[in-house]
């Protein structure tokens, strides 16, 4: 486990990595929030607006035809990227969040009734939780959760009791954005199929870091966001099996998703148009194409290996620092390059601020996973998350900065006011 990509070469493709932050070179390890974009993606946007810009699908002039072809070519690239059977199974949304809402509204409100059960995992991001809460509230269905064990892995020991004949849908993440855990999707999907439940995989964290194969997974839906995988903001992907998508009512109404419109009724366009109402985010979808090419060129297997090398180094370094409290898996088994931790007696936001002044961008907070925080017993964690352009040197800089943070908050201070005498009513002044 010490494979490394040629980051020297790779980093040249990412102009932002040369940024200085507070006078220090940027160390960007907040990739689970969003990744940076290679120059080819930026160039694609420039090229689009300078030579192709046009509305698509209904235009008869040169620009419109050219833009339409480029847009649809990316749909085919996405199909190949996740190995879907058919290009019409790829729907472009704004982000993964919208894709999940689309399923919860369009599929959910048609198929879920009072008394039905919706099974999620305790690892879920709010985006794969709130839409199901809304659906449950509206329909009278019940939410159930696959629990997280001490190592941050899903505990499947009661899977057969959790996923039953009452279960209509099982929606879970392929990789936790907090702990990095990669749950055993095959087992969960197998059980869901046994009871006839539909499955949705949240690949928001996964798709950028390991090969996604919807046919091998055999899930019914899968979602992810372009911005977390070298693509621009404003583009999400919903994969759905053709037969299920065909049976679903449309989500948003408007231009492009219709076939024949009368005053009080309309018929719907075929897939994928049925689910893409209004003018799409044309430029950004097109720019997602070179992002996918770029990832394919580097290779998802190698990306994962590289990240595991960095993760191992980080975990080793953290194990050597007695002030670090690690959440989630302690090894590189079944995980991605996302690591959550605390420093003893230092709030994650304070860690974040100190690291920021070292040029290091980490995330601190609940990571849009408040219920999972309650399982961990903390309101927030600090989180380091890698991508293929990160280096072992950067890992070392993070580790050193954590030591500095520790020293900084435990430095001796001149007490400038005398500690007040505790008043009668004040019990137990806890000195931190």
């Amino acid at each position: 486990m010490s494979f490394l990509l040629p980051t020297n070469e790779i980093r040249k493709d990412f102009p932002i990595l040369d940024t200085k932050v507070h006078g220090k070179p940027l160390v960007y390890v907040d990739n689970a929030a969003t990744t940076h974009k290679p120059q080819v993606v930026i160039d694609s946007l420039v090229n689009y607006y300078q030579t192709l810009n046009s509305n698509i699908h209904r235009g008869i002039h040169y620009l419109s035809e050219a833009a339409t072809q480029e847009y649809e070519a990316v749909r085919e690239k996405v199909r190949a990227f996740v190995n879907a059977r058919n290009t019409c199974e790829i729907i472009f949304t704004r982000n993964a969040t919208e894709a999940i809402n689309l399923v919860a509204r369009s599929w959910g409100e048609t198929n879920v009734k009072a008394g039905d059960e919706i099974v999620l995992s305790q690892l879920e991001h709010h985006s794969n939780l709130i839409p199901w809460q809304m659906l449950a509230t509206k329909t009278g269905a019940t939410l159930k959760f696959i629990p997280v064990d001490k190592e941050g892995q899903l505990d499947l020991s009661n899977l057969d009791q959790l996923i039953t004949n009452k279960t209509k849908i099982v929606a879970f993440t392929l990789m936790s954005n907090v702990l990095g855990t990669m749950p055993p999707a095959d087992k969960i999907i197998k059980r869901a199929k046994a009871v006839g439940a539909v499955t949705l995989c949240d690949a928001s964290q996964y798709a950028a870091h390991a090969k996604t194969d919807v046919q091998a997974l055999d899930c019914d839906f899968l979602v992810f966001s372009a911005h977390k995988m070298c693509g621009p903001t404003g583009v999400g992907v919903l994969y759905g099996k053709e037969a299920i998508l065909n049976a679903m009512p449309p989500f948003l109404g408007g231009g492009e998703m219709i076939s024949h419109v009368e005053w009080d009724k309309a018929t719907w366009n075929v897939l994928p148009s049925k689910f893409e109402a209004g003018t799409p985010n044309i430029a950004d979808v097109i720019a997602f194409g070179p992002a996918l090419d770029y990832l394919n060129k580097i290779g998802l297997d190698k990306i994962h290996e590289h990240e595991m090398t960095l993760t191992q180094r980080l975990l080793d370094g953290m194990a050597a620092n007695p002030n670090v409290i690690l959440f989630g898996p302690k090894t590189t088994e079944n995980r991605g390059g996302v690591v959550s931790f605390e420093l003893d007696h230092i709030h994650p936001h304070d860690i974040g601020t100190v690291l920021d002044f070292e040029g290091i961008a980490i995330r601190a907070g609940h990571h849009c996973a408040q219920p999972l925080m309650s399982v961990l017993g903390v309101p927030a964690t600090a989180r380091v998350s890698f991508y293929f352009y990160n280096t072992p040197e950067e890992v070392d800089m993070v580790l050193r900065a954590l030591e500095k943070a520790n020293a900084y908050f435990h430095r001796p201070v001149k007490t400038n006011t005398l500690p007040q005498t505790p008043k009668g009513q004040v019990q137990g002044v806890v000195t931190k």
Binding site: H22, G23, I346, H347, P348, H349, D350, T353, V354, F357, A364, G365, H366, Q370, M373, P379, A380, K404, Y408, F409, R411, V413, K414, T415, N416, T417, P419, Q420, P422, K423, Q425, V426, Q427, G428, V429, V430, T431, K432
Partner: protein, 144 residues
């Protein structure tokens, strides 16, 4: 470490963070309210003992970053013995310092001054204000 970082975490703030004043609980508080910073999810509890419009004692508990902990510790130290009118003015002043409408130099705020550095860190302003907005809630609870 850098100057800027020290302008956020001044010695006074670290002192309050390391040695929080009035941390704990009152046996018979006149009022007890919870305050939450929705941005980060951190939560505190603030208890007051009020008599004839004067804040006799304060205690607090809860978790948060150094800024929020220090700010509420400073708050506690400052409002004990003050009238509610005076405390309310103090709240306004602190808010004013944070949103830039009040110059901290024009005030005589003691340790409070150390909080002014937070102004340069927009996402941490909510941390510095957590205690103060909770105090405001406490007054609302008391209908004063």
């Amino acid at each position: 470490m850098m100057d800027n970082l020290d302008s956020l975490y001044r010695e006074v703030i670290l002192d309050h963070f390391q040695n929080p004043r009035h941390h704990g609980a009152l046996t018979e508080p006149t009022v007890a309210v919870d305050g939450k910073n929705p941005l980060c999810g951190d939560e505190i509890t603030l208890q007051l003992s009020v008599e004839n419009g004067v804040i006799k004692d304060v205690a607090w508990d809860g978790k948060g970053c150094a800024i929020s902990q220090a700010s509420i510790s400073v708050l506690a130290e400052n409002v004990v013995g003050k009238t509610i009118i005076e405390a309310k003015e103090m709240i306004n002043n602190v808010k004013g310092v944070m949103n830039g409408s009040v110059e901290v130099e024009t005030l005589d705020m003691g340790d409070l001054e150390a909080l002014a550095g937070v102004r340069q860190f927009p996402v941490r302003i909510k941390c510095a204000l957590l205690g103060w907005t909770t105090l405001e809630e406490a007054f609302k609870e008391l209908n004063i």
